[in-house]
C-alpha cells in the first residue's frame, strides 16, 4: 500500500501550535514529556502559546503539561496561565454543580435529560472537572418534554434567549420543527444552558438520533451523577459535533483523543465500523486521522492506511487544519472578516452541502423570526435534497479497495 502524504504535516506548522497540541495529549507519558520538552527549547513566542491555548480553549491542559513537565516559562506567562487555568477550573466546577442541580430538577419533573459535553466529558476523558474548559451546559431532552422543561428552567431562574420569548406562536411552532434546540441564560449568574432535542441537523440528523439508544451514568461530584451517551456513542457524537464546526477548537479533538487513548486498535476499528452503519464515516474518519497525527492514537495499520489513502478524508483533514489555524490559530473567528470557503467546502465533503446553504441562509436572516417573516414555506430548508455524493464516494473507494 502506498501511503499518501498529509500536507501540511503537523511538524511543518509553527512550533507554538505544535507545542499546544503536544500539551493536549492525554494522559501524561514519557513520550509526551519528551515532545513537550523538545518543543519548548526551540525559540518559542510564549505570548503566542498563551493566545493559541486560549483560542482553542485548552488553557487547563497546556498549563497542566507546563507544570508537570517543569517547562521553563517566562514568569509573566506562567502567572497568566496559572490565573486563567484557575478561573477556568472554578467556572467548570460551577457549571458542573449547576448541571447537577438542573438534572435533579428535570428528574423531579419526570424529564429524561442526557448531559452532552461539559462535565460528563471532563470526567470521562480526564477524570477531572478542572482540565476542560466549559462555557455552558448542554442537555438533550425528548422534544415532547419541551413544555415541562421550560417550566423547570423558568423556576430555576433562567430566561429563554433562543428563540427569544417574544417569538410569535406560529414562529415558535416552526422553530420546534426546524431547529435542534433552545438556549437559556440565568437571570442573575449569566450561566448559559443549551437544551436540544436533536443531536444534529442536516442529513445526519436522523441517524445521529440512534446514538441516544445507549447511555451511561457518570459520577460528576462525590454525591452526584449525570446521564450521558454510552462511551462509543459519545465518541461518535463528538466527532459529528467537531466536524460540523470544522474542528476550529482543538479542545474538541483533545476530548476525542483522550476518550480514545485507552482503546485498542480493534476497538477503534469497531467504532469506525459503527460510524459507517450510521452514515457518519466522513466525520469520524476525519477525527481519527487527526487524533492519530496529533495525539499518537493507535488506529492499527489497516485502518490508518485506509483513512490516510482516502482523498476525501485527506481533504477534510486539511480543511480542519486550516480552520484550526485561521487567524494564526490565535484569533477568534468572530474577530475575522467573513471567509467561509474552507468550512463550506468541508461541509460539502461531510455530505451536508445543501444543508449548509440553507443553514447559512437562516443564519444570515437571524433572528429566526426574520426567516419566517419572509414568507418562505415552513419546510423550505428540509425540502432541499441532501447531497450524499461524498458519502457515496467514500463507500465506492472502500469497495474498490476491498475488491483489490
Amino acid at each position: 500500500l502506498t501511503i499518501s502524504s498529509l500536507q501540511p504535516a503537523l511538524t511543518d506548522l509553527w512550533p507554538e501550535f505544535q507545542l499546544v497540541v503536544a500539551c493536549c495529549r492525554w494522559p501524561s507519558s514519557s513520550i509526551t514529556e519528551e515532545r513537550v520538552r523538545a518543543l519548548s527549547i526551540e525559540p518559542i513566542d510564549w505570548t503566542r502559546v498563551l493566545r493559541i491555548a486560549h483560542r482553542h480553549r485548552v488553557v487547563g491542559l497546556v498549563h497542566r503539561s507546563i507544570v508537570s513537565y517543569g517547562v521553563d516559562v517566562p514568569p509573566d506567562i506562567s502567572l497568566a496561565f496559572s490565573t486563567q487555568a484557575k478561573k477556568e477550573r472554578s467556572r467548570a466546577t460551577m457549571a458542573a454543580m449547576e448541571a447537577v442541580r438542573l438534572n435533579n430538577a428535570f428528574k423531579a419533573a419526570g424529564i429524561r435529560a442526557i448531559s452532552l459535553k461539559g462535565a460528563s466529558i471532563a470526567m470521562l476523558a480526564y477524570g477531572n472537572l478542572g482540565l476542560r474548559q466549559a462555557k455552558d451546559i448542554d442537555f438533550l431532552i425528548p422534544q415532547v418534554s419541551f413544555a415541562a422543561m421550560s417550566d423547570v428552567m423558568e423556576i430555576a431562574g433562567y430566561l429563554r434567549t433562543e428563540p427569544a420569548t417574544s417569538i410569535s406562536e406560529e414562529g415558535f411552532r416552526r422553530w420546534l420543527g426546524e431547529a435542534k434546540g433552545t438556549e437559556w441564560k440565568h437571570r442573575v449568574t449569566g450561566m448559559l444552558v443549551e437544551i436540544d432535542w436533536k443531536l444534529s441537523l442536516g442529513p445526519s440528523s436522523r441517524s445521529s438520533q440512534l446514538l441516544l439508544g445507549k447511555s451511561q451514568q457518570v459520577r460528576i461530584l462525590p454525591d452526584a451523577e449525570l446521564t450521558t451517551l454510552s462511551e462509543d456513542n459519545l465518541v461518535l457524537y463528538l466527532c459529528l459535533h467537531g466536524s460540523s464546526h470544522s474542528w476550529f477548537r482543538l479542545k474538541w479533538l483533545a476530548d476525542v483523543g483522550a476518550l480514545l487513548q485507552a482503546r485498542t486498535p480493534g476497538e477503534i476499528a469497531e467504532i469506525y465500523r459503527l460510524a459507517g452503519t450510521l452514515r457518519l464515516t466522513p466525520a469520524v474518519g476525519q477525527a481519527l486521522l487527526l487524533c492519530a497525527e496529533f495525539f499518537g492514537i493507535q488506529l492499527g495499520d489497516a485502518l490508518y492506511h485506509d483513512l490516510r489513502n482516502h482523498w476525501v478524508l485527506r481533504r477534510l483533514r486539511a480543511s480542519a487544519l486550516r480552520y484550526m489555524l485561521v487567524g494564526k490559530g490565535e484569533v477568534e473567528l468572530t474577530e475575522l472578516p467573513p471567509k467561509t470557503t474552507v468550512q463550506t467546502a468541508s461541509h460539502f465533503l461531510l455530505a451536508r452541502g445543501a444543508w449548509t446553504l440553507s443553514a447559512r441562509a437562516t443564519h444570515l436572516l437571524k433572528p429566526f423570526e426574520l426567516l419566517i417573516s419572509t414568507g418562505l414555506p415552513a419546510k423550505a430548508a428540509s425540502l432541499i435534497p441532501d447531497i450524499a455524493i461524498p458519502d457515496w464516494l467514500v463507500n465506492q473507494l472502500h469497495r474498490r479497495e476491498n475488491r483489490g
Binding site: S90, E98, R101, T189
Partner: protein, 93 residues
C-alpha cells in the same frame, strides 16, 4: 442577622459544594447562585460541616491564622452574615 458568641451555625440544607485548588465553590440549589470562597473562607466553611458556636469557630481560626482577635472575629461575622443572607447557613440559638 446578629450573631451572638453562643449562636450555633452550620451548613444550610440547600447547597452543593466542591473544591477547586483547595478553595470551596458553593452553589445555592434553590436559585442557582454560586459563590467562591477564598482560602480562609474555605477553612471557615469546612468548620461549619458540624454545628459549632460562633465563639468556638473564632477560637479555632485563631489557632490557624495570625492576626488580632478582633479582626478575625469581625471577618468571621461578615462571612457568616454573607452566607446566611444567601441561604447557605443554618442558624440556631
Amino acid at each position: 442577622m446578629v450573631f451572638q458568641s453562643g449562636t450555633i451555625v452550620s451548613w444550610g440544607d440547600r447547597h452543593q459544594a466542591a473544591e477547586v485548588d483547595g478553595e470551596v465553590v458553593l452553589l445555592n440549589l434553590s436559585d442557582g447562585h454560586y459563590f467562591g470562597l477564598d482560602e480562609v473562607g474555605s477553612t471557615v466553611w469546612r468548620f461549619l460541616e458540624v454545628p459549632i458556636s460562633v465563639d468556638k469557630l473564632c477560637a479555632a481560626l485563631q489557632t490557624r491564622y495570625i492576626g488580632p482577635k478582633d479582626k478575625i472575629v469581625q471577618d468571621v461575622l461578615v462571612l457568616l452574615e454573607d452566607l446566611h443572607e444567601h441561604g447557605l447557613l443554618k442558624v440556631s440559638a
